[in-house]
Subunit: 489 residues, 2 copies
């Protein structure tokens, strides 16, 4: 708690100094009191926490980055409170860190420069469902699973699925995607409008208030400027999302391959054939082995594709048959497939449990996911080189990929208390990202830049583009108070 006070003090000092105002202890305490009591006036006593446990809990995500607790955590109940809190922070020159579910993987919520964490969990209402228009507006506390549970009886669903039960506005902030992106797109394609609170408390709607058109050419695309901005341009307080009809039926399938090349070649041919595959996931031999052990399965320990098809009766059979022909022609194993929910889940269990299976490879260790994306044709080479790198450097990193997008993850299983091993992992993830950059790819397909990939971002886009990004940031957040130190140095 003292730390909190000290930090608040230092911000205020800097402000007072740069304003050439003489500051003494009395005024300092007055300042602290004014900031905190303003927060309490806005959110109530329960809406403001300086407790160490709460701050620790809000100081990190699922990434390897060490916890940096914020100085205060506030729990607003509505956009007006978010706006009022932002004004107070703005006037006191205090950093703002938006917080959804903390399921990010690049340190996006770590308060590396201190400040106030805005936990948006109390704003958890699903608003304005328009079934005939295939859109819905949600508050930032609504997670993707909560939304799909809400939609269950409507015949509609929201398909973007990053794995974790993340908040939808958090998914917008990090431009999340996941397994369904190959068919349904990422958050970039599925956000129609955002309500955003800017650093000075101004409330805007990126496409105009209440706008829900499925497409627009009206002015600069602010919606997609805020999607993926990782809380550095404003606080997303509402998202209007595209919805889709729940497919009449689904088929899941699994197929083993003699080589990574064969699995990727099949993927390319499936897409070339125009099969509207909904999910096409790659697991390498190490990951399959881990899944076999963890879930008592007996898949051949070779590169494997897990597929899912959405559609209606006969067209589904067509999709499956076309895919089976393609995989066979590439030396794939007999094509196991299932249509019943229960059997489908059994078939996909390995993929669903991949994260835990990876962790189980080294009891007492922790799994951290890293993510790159390359053009499809480069996947075999980068995966082969990456596996060699893992072996050479004695690292455990099973590979799972959204192969239809050229996007894959290494699930690094490391001992968090072994600095030397952590250092080897850092060096490895940098090499992996640079390998992707050398193959016309990106250092992050869906996890974002956060703290860990800022230097890589500079290598990826070059100094001029970084300068433009800094210019855009300065336009919206001139004092660098919005989640400072993320994306840009």
């Amino acid at each position: 708690m003292l730390l909190g006070f000290r930090r608040l003090l230092s911000y205020r000092n800097s402000v007072l100094l740069c304003r050439n105002i003489k500051s003494d202890n009395t005024s300092r305490c007055a300042v602290l009191d004014s900031a905190l009591s303003a927060f309490r006036l806005i959110c109530g006593e329960d809406g403001v926490s300086l407790g160490e446990a709460v701050r620790e809990q809000h100081g990190k995500d699922e990434s390897v980055h060490r916890c940096c607790p914020p100085d205060v955590v506030v729990f607003p109940h509505c956009v007006e409170e978010v706006s009022a809190l932002a004004k107070v922070c703005h006037n006191h020159n205090i950093p703002i860190i938006p917080f959804g579910t903390g399921t990010g993987v690049e340190g996006g919520v770590n308060a590396s420069k201190g400040g106030v964490c805005f936990s948006l969990r109390n704003m958890d209402q699903v608003l304005h469902l328009h079934q005939e228009d295939f859109d819905v507006t949600v508050e930032p506390g609504v997670t993707r699973k909560a939304l799909n549970a809400y939609l269950r009886d409507t015949g509609l669903w929201f398909p973007v699925d990053p794995g974790a039960d993340a908040s939808l506005c958090g998914m917008a902030a990090t431009s999340a995607s996941g397994t369904n992106a190959v068919r349904y797109g990422t958050m970039r394609e599925n956000v129609l409008n955002l309500e955003v609170v800017l650093v000075d408390g101004t409330i805007i709607h990126t496409a105009g208030k209440g706008r829900r058109a499925r497409k627009t050419s009206a002015g600069y695309n602010l919606t997609n400027l805020f999607v993926g901005s990782e809380g550095t341009l404003g606080i997303i307080t509402k998202a209007t999302l595209r919805l889709y009809g729940i497919p009449e039926s689904m088929v899941s399938a699994v197929c083993s391959f003699p080589s990574i090349q064969a699995a990727v070649k099949s993927t390319v041919q499936i897409l070339q054939a125009g099969v509207p595959v909904a999910r096409i996931e790659f697991l390498d031999d190490v990951m399959i082995d881990a899944c076999n052990r963890f879930s008592c399965l007996s898949y051949p320990v070779t590169p494997t594709l897990f597929l899912e098809f959405h559609g209606s009766g006969q067209s589904l059979k067509d999709q499956v048959n076309t895919t089976a022909d393609i995989t066979q022609s590439n030396g794939g194993s007999d094509f196991q497939w299932a249509q019943e929910a229960e059997t489908r889940n059994r078939l996909w269990k390995a993929r669903h449990d991949a994260w835990y299976a990876a962790q189980a490879l080294r009891p007492g260790c922790k799994a951290y996911a890293t993510d790159v994306c390359v053009p499809l044709s480069r996947l075999p080479q980068i995966i082969v080189e990456t596996k060699e790198d893992l072996i050479e450097n004695k690292l455990t990193g099973p590979i799972a990929g959204h192969v239809g997008d050229g996007n894959f993850h290494c699930l690094m299983v490391v001992d968090p208390n072994n600095p030397e091993e952590l250092h080897r992992m850092y060096l490895f993830t940098d090499r992996l990202a640079r390998r992707a950059l050398a193959m016309d790819g990106t250092c992050t397909g869906e996890h974002g830049v956060g703290l860990g990939k800022r230097a890589l971002l500079c290598e990826e886009v070059g100094p001029m583009v970084i300068q433009i990004m800094q210019g855009l940031k300065a336009t919206l957040d001139p004092n660098n108070l919005m989640n400072p130190g993320k994306i840009l140095q």
Copy 2:
């Protein structure tokens, strides 16, 4: 030509004046000579035109806005020339107007503040086709038909189809879409990377040089900031685009409905059923009547849907059957469909000829398209009200819509020499746009803002968002030289 010189003079004067440098005739001529001779040094004699006919030809698009010829038209051959030309304009404080094919419909290329038109027609190479990665990079002179002709033997195609044979970089600049958007998305979803020349001649790549990943979360989405920026932020000199496998087969279908409601309800149910319809186009009774006359057809003169399905054998049949069931349950006529290319073209002739059919309604008149987009459920009401408005105001405006996106056009057929009728049309198009805004929609779904919808954009997004757009513009183009007076006032 004199006009050209006078305009150049005035820019230079303003620069000289604001720099408090005494300017006399000698220095003026020196300035003009320096600008024009610099252009000639860069593009050669043939690469610079002050000819009235050429300037007139580059001073307007397909819109109703009167021709505003630029002062000079330059024809660069490569990005280095574009960059060098931009530097000269920047140093002389002369506006820059990028020009693709001039097929825009909102006055985006009109040189309303004079300046230099950059015609990019000489940069017409298809570069870097990566078949296995489903991407290609094109220069700004490449049109969508030229690209698809180039791709013909690869089994791939680029589906975004605004109707006109526009240049692909121009389509990126206006965020174009068209008939296939309901399945394949708009330019926003299909541009992976852009090479852009900024106002001072700097060359950037929005996603980093050579990057082709199908998705990325690396930093702010500059690609989608430039898509739809209508030449106001920079000159797009290369676009890397997503490609798709050519569907194994296609089915076209036509269905007449007793009412607009029935046609729209069918559309909603088709999407709800998850039918991956490739095109679903609405023509109102007036448009059908015009098509019947123009193309000697005999469709019932009622609201009609033209559909196209892409897929393989049985799944296609499924799509068609599901759709036929839905349309019948909504009182649709017997469902005419065809799979053979020739019959398909005959079936779609009415839709393909709509533009000419509309023109033919009033010989000697000209057709101008206006465009709005609303949530699907609001389509019947807005179309009914719009048709009443047309009748009340004695305007001819058959309606054709990309109904799957809630996007439709009135093809206004007016006498360009009748100021009173033109005035009635202006008032009507403003009312139409405001009607869309009142229904949570946008004043433009795919045509852009250009000159004609700047005031409507303010109403659509509100003053704060306009201020942010102005801030972004100022960051990239501080002297407002890039296509000034477009999008923003």
